[in-house]
Symmetry: C2
Subunit: 353 residues, 2 copies
């Protein structure tokens, strides 16, 4: 099979971790007789530096022509202290999501037995956790009308959802639940927000099409609590953009394996795969960043974008092996123990595939 | 001193826990030579049942005339499955906040040494945690225009803030930080939302008036993570209404002492004190609910509404004693150990003041 993949390495440690995922993907392709063509493109702070905008049209064209996008991370500290600066890396991210129609952000949180003691939660709370958030990514308050009135003294952000947007996301949620334990949780704030009431009534109306799926409806504040108390009581959760932003990040730290969590953003035109960790500027160029989340994002890409399940499983298996054998970067080793560099971990994965 | 207090017991276990707080408050008043006049009033589901609305005008009048309000909890399961029902207990809560101008919700999260092992977090993560959220309570997306368009197919909720609203809340935050460790964290989403940019620029402009306070600005998703990872790295946090709803609930479960957490809603006309736990319908009438959060809310009331610090400290001391000696309700005892009823705990507190 010919796999045509856009490669958006981005900023900070992005290029380093993406590099290892490319090595592993190429090795898998060779083993299973596929041919990958990678097309690199600029996004984020590096794109601002090079061409003045964080998501250039050329990058967009490359993504539109690709079968899938592998993404590193974006962001640079020089933009951190002024969130109202006219051009910022995050704007590129939002523009990319909107223009590529990446409406469903798939964010699994699961545990690795060998890493469970890294969790801030007690073992008995976190053991067995295996949940997936589907966060709506192209609507809501992120993209509604926003601005100032009264000479700048009043600010507003409008949150808007259409029934069709909710249906599109919820459909993916029901379908995903059918492949798992058939439990779906719709997270909203329907006791206060009209958009949440639209979410809830839309999902309620879809229940009859998926009679095997048990749906629960929970308020976002209650979910923020239960994620810490009993994370393993959840399976698939669907929610709107802003709630998803907050809850997926909360969920990511409970496992103790945040540095290993992959994600996908599923779109109308193409889908994008990226580690959930950020650009980690302090580590840039030091060859110490953990590449496993990006490698596991590539595994998601093989499985979901190309239907290549055996290839994905082979990648996951070798990642597990590296964890078991302690061939990991310094963030995953207890004090004093031997650690490996970013590229050494990548090399080891390739050699042990 | 004469203390004129409105008593809004509400629904579920509200009346039972409020009853014990009244007993303890009366005993303290006697000891310190104050005279409390309690004026009961209806709110919540019980008000809907009695007079058809969740926050009757008569209740509002009583609150307006009072020096402080002691509140139990509201909510009843018969309203749980239909968040768009025309009359709901929560509407009373929102109306009460708005009409009483309760603009600052003060939500401490702290640990009790004897309860630390109840936390879902590991001991070393939670030990020493002592933080306070100030949540803006009468603005934002809760109270902006909301509705439907396109024949019901599109829903919207507008989030609005004025500079004056932000200043009012932030001022309380700076003042509170001055009485504590002089660290203030402003939680926003200024990389996406215009209202958050207004929050951030307003707080930034106030920094010069409080040169001793160190202010940090963090995105809401990052705070949702750090609350689980390093809760004791925070001191005072200020944030808008919806972020506060989610984050204060998240924070409440990390301590392991959720059933003990008090809160205050500070207003223009009066202030309201309530336990953060809800109406816990399953326990209604069983005399098993934990009254300590309400008792500690009464302590906050003595200190903040009336400036009676010694009285507040006396209440906190006897609560600590009950915890140390294990005179607690069943939610706080390990399996098998002896527990006490709601009223027995209250009686013990009164006897040991
Ligand atoms: C950088 C920011 C705009 C972005 C978001 O809020 O969506 C990030 O937090 C994320 O979750 O991908
Ligand atoms: C019941 C609900 C409207 C309320 C809120 O969202 O403010 C509650 O969750 C709270 O935090 O007091």
């Amino acid at each position: 099979m010919k796999l045509n993949i856009a490669l958006l390495a981005g900023d900070g440690i992005g290029p380093e971790v993406v590099n290892e995922a490319v090595k592993v993907s190429d090795a898998i392709a060779k083993k299973f007789n596929h041919e990958i063509s990678w097309t690199p493109a600029l996004t984020g702070a590096c794109a601002i530096d090079a061409v003045g905008v964080p998501y250039p049209d050329e990058t967009h064209d490359i993504c539109m022509k690709a079968d899938a996008v592998l993404f590193g991370a974006i962001g640079h500290p020089k933009y951190d202290n002024d969130p109202s600066a006219p051009v910022r890396p995050e704007q590129g991210l939002l523009l990319m999501r909107k223009k590529l129609g990446l409406f469903a952000n798939v964010r699994p949180t699961f545990t690795f037995p060998s890493l469970i003691d890294n969790s801030p939660l007690k073992r008995e709370r976190i053991e067995g956790t295996d949940l997936v958030f589907l966060r709506e990514l192209t609507g809501g308050i992120y993209f509604g009308e926003k601005g100032r009135k009264d000479g700048g003294e009043t600010a507003f952000d409008n949150c808007v959802y259409t029934r069709a947007e909710v249906q599109r996301l919820a459909k993916k949620g029901f379908e995903l639940a059918m492949t798992r334990s058939k439990k779906l949780c719709c997270v909203d704030k329907a006791n206060v927000l009209e958009t949440s009431r639209l979410w809830r009534e839309t999902v309620q109306a879809m229940e009859k099409d998926y009679p095997e799926v048990t749906v629960s409806y929970e308020f976002v504040d209650a979910v923020a609590m239960r994620l810490v108390q009993w994370p393993n009581s959840y399976d698939v959760l669907i929610t709107e953009n802003l709630f998803g932003d907050i809850l997926t990040d909360e969920a990511s730290v409970i496992s103790g394996s945040m540095g290993l969590m992959p994600s996908a953003s599923v779109g109308e035109h193409t889908s994008l795969y990226e580690p959930i960790h950020g650009s980690y500027p302090q580590a840039t160029g030091l060859n110490i960043a953990n590449p496993l989340a990006t490698v596991l994002s590539a595994a998601m890409m093989f499985e979901d974008a190309f239907g290549l399940k055996a290839e994905a499983e082979a990648i996951r298996a070798v990642v597990n092996k590296s964890l078991e054998q302690g061939v990991v970067t310094e963030d995953l080793v207890a004090n004093g123990a031997k650690s490996y560099s970013t590229s050494e971990v990548g090399d080891w994965l390739v050699a042990n595939l």
